[in-house]
């Protein structure tokens, strides 16, 4: 092969190396995208039946059993979740639904496991490993728990499952013989070290059925401090189907929280647990990353009725920082096409 014939391939190889080094993408993704519809007014944070949810187009995200880290259950029950999203410029609400024949919302006995669902956002650019992130690629996880949801209405304890239980003595309790001491009965809260250290699982009451966590790979899951628990949730089971709403402000001051903005695209992954199948911890169903896109905000009517949603204006200022260099690369690529064609014509005429 002559040097002339190696010229263009060599140029293309070098160009590809430069583009790889600069992390310039030449391919666009057409994957599953969840579009958060923008509406005005309050979001339906505790009403999965609200009509405004129909303003958002749902996606069905397939799930498969987590089979990377042991222990694992290969025949998990939740095969897909249906998700919708709404935002009003300041808050976002996600409605996640999935089929589950059993309502497992009690975890008093050691052999009982809860139904749960989680959504996961990468904290850095790009997509870390979709299952719990990776070192250097932390993820923010919102984990809704069915038993926490039920306990908000009425906290269950050992006596709920074992009505005939009896306790001989509770040490450090400033009351007389008690069937079941509450945290307030203790003479010093430090005698409940888990509660005193801010362990959410020891809390007598739950402000939210959603736990806000961060992870950077298997075995690194960490609950955010109590003051940083800013995700609200609401879940209801009916006719073999769970419907769970996650809601939070778009912006958060916590460094370990994902920040969301309109007009941008984020990555999002789902996980679900069927407690009746013994699924817990890493024994779960997970999805691959899907895209989450927040529509640009246009003020519409005053009430969250089935509103008329117009196309959002493009974020020209934001796009200017992206469009410029990307347009140059796009022109360069098109120029290559033309150059290749021209070279083909020229060599043929020789």
């Amino acid at each position: 092969m002559s040097k002339r014939h190696l010229l263009l391939p060599g140029l293309l190889l070098m160009l590809a190396a430069v583009l790889t080094f600069l992390k310039v993408p030449l391919a666009s993704s057409q994957g599953l995208t969840l579009v958060a519809a923008e509406v005005s007014g309050e979001l339906p944070m505790t009403d999965p039946e609200a009509a405004v949810w129909q303003e958002a187009t749902a996606i069905e995200a397939p799930l498969s059993a987590q089979n990377v880290a042991r222990p694992m259950i290969l025949n998990t029950q939740v095969r897909s979740v249906t998700a919708r999203a709404l935002h009003n410029g300041s808050q976002i609400a996600l409605l996640v639904e999935w089929a589950d024949d059993t309502q497992s919302d009690e975890m008093v006995r050691v052999q009982d496991f809860r139904d749960a669902v989680a959504v996961q956002f990468p904290l850095a650019e790009g997509q870390p490993f979709f299952c719990m992130g990776q070192p250097g690629g932390n993820v923010n996880i919102w984990h809704w728990k069915a038993d926490w949801q039920a306990d908000i209405a009425a906290r269950r304890d050992v006596n709920t499952a074992y009505a005939n239980m009896y306790v001989d003595q509770y040490p450090f309790v400033g009351i007389g013989e008690a069937l079941l001491a509450s945290p307030a009965d203790y003479t010093d809260p430090n005698y409940l070290p888990a509660l005193a250290s801010g362990n959410l699982f020891a809390s007598a009451t739950y402000a939210s059925p959603v736990e806000d966590l961060i992870a950077g790979g298997f075995g690194s899951l960490t609950s955010q401090p109590v003051a940083g628990q800013n995700v609200q949730g609401y879940g209801v089971w009916s006719d073999g189907r769970w419907r769970v709403i996650f809601s939070r402000d778009l912006k958060s001051q916590d460094a370990d929280d994902v920040n969301l903005s309109t007009g941008k695209v984020y990555s999002l992954a789902f996980a679900a647990w069927d407690g009746a199948n013994g699924e817990r911890n890493g024994q779960k169903s997970t999805s691959q990353w899907v895209s989450l896109q927040l529509e640009g905000m246009i003020p519409t009517g005053p009430a969250p009725q089935p509103a008329q949603r117009a196309a959002a204006p493009l974020d020209w200022l934001g796009m200017a920082f992206v469009f410029g260099p990307m347009a140059l690369v796009a022109l360069l690529a098109l120029g290559l096409v033309g150059g290749a064609v021209a070279l083909s014509i020229w060599t043929r005429k020789q």
């Binding site: 293309l12 993408p25 030449l26 666009s28 695209v265 990307m326 098109l334 083909s344 043929r348």
Partner: protein, 322 residues
């Protein structure tokens, strides 16, 4: 497309096939095994180097795919055989580059998927209206249907979003599974169309192709869950059918590739591009690989038609590779 016509194709297509294979095998297959390797520093260094090579291969594949589609559009225009397909291909090019800057959504996403479906349909129309073997035409239909099923799935989702319908779009899993069935049958059909004559290619392609098929079978029997995970990452196939079906399809795909390379025609390249493109492609580059593969398959040996005219013109003008 006979061997003379193949030689007239720019070496661009050979480069593209090699780059696509490197991207597929390294980025989407080998690097997925990282979770099993020891995490010692030399291994991590080697893995990172492998990942960098895979990223380079992906960028090169994307670049060459863009150039190849542009080349196809240009040659179709020069051959003066219709304007609709070249315009469709150029439109796809433009939209795919636009989506690098602007997130695909709304009616633009609908347009994109419609253009992909239109391109596949126009390539097929050109093929079916020409004289030639009916068997090869039928065999071409299966990979086209697999692409159309994947695109219909994404078109459905995009249409629901553009129309503000609540959804979710119905029948998604049914459509997805049907497309996977077509993808698996594609290799059976291609083998039947190009290689089934007894003694045509000897036994060597069958023996060589058995190796990857046996490797897949062994992997599935040893660790079916992990094989399924790697398969879906690598090819987009969920392995919902009985696993021997996939093993046979893989075997026959290998037979077609080895026999084609021996004969010097373009079918093997097309099969490799189809494999690299995967099923229900998520990236625009993968869509282009499949369209290029369908175009290569649509060029029938000795049949007067668009591709043949281009090849004759190219040979007559002493076409040299790029």
């Amino acid at each position: 497309m006979d061997s003379e016509a193949v030689k007239s194709l720019p070496s661009l297509f050979r480069w593209l096939t090699l780059a696509a294979l490197a991207d597929w095998l390294i980025t989407r297959t080998l690097t997925r095994s990282a979770i099993f390797v020891p995490k010692s520093p030399p291994v991590i260094t080697a893995y990172e180097a492998l990942g960098l090579i895979g990223q380079w291969a992906f960028t090169l594949t994307s670049l060459l795919a863009l150039v190849a589609v542009g080349w196809m559009a240009f040659r179709l225009l020069r051959a003066r055989r219709g304007i609709v397909l070249p315009i469709t291909l150029l439109g796809l090019l433009a939209l795919s580059l636009l989506f690098v800057v602007i997130p695909p959504g709304g009616w633009l996403a609908v347009d994109y998927h419609l253009l992909v479906i239109a391109a596949a349909g126009l390539i097929g129309w050109g093929m079916w209206t020409r004289a030639g073997g009916g068997g090869r035409k039928i065999a071409w239909v299966f990979p086209a249907l697999a692409l159309l099923a994947g695109e219909a799935l994404q078109l459905n989702q995009a249409l629901f979003g553009a129309m503000r319908w609540p959804g979710p779009p119905p029948g998604a899993m049914t459509l997805f599974n049907l497309g996977e069935l077509f993808a698996v049958l594609s290799m059976v059909g291609l083998w039947w169309a190009y290689c089934w004559h007894p003694g045509q290619d000897g036994i060597r392609p069958y023996v060589l192709a058995a190796l990857p098929a046996l490797a897949f079978s062994a992997a599935h029997l040893i660790n079916p869950a992990m094989t399924g995970i790697v398969a879906i990452w690598s090819t987009g196939l969920t392995l919902y059918l009985p696993w021997p079906v996939y093993a046979v399809s893989l075997w026959l795909a290998g037979v077609v590739v080895f026999a084609s390379l021996r004969r010097g025609d373009a079918v093997g390249w097309a099969v490799l591009l189809l494999a690299a493109g995967g099923y229900a492609p998520q990236l625009s580059t993968q869509v282009f690989l499949i369209l290029i593969a369908l175009w290569l398959l649509s060029e029938e040996e000795g049949a007067p038609g668009l591709g043949y005219d281009i090849a004759v013109w190219a040979i007559g003008n002493r076409a040299s590779s790029l």
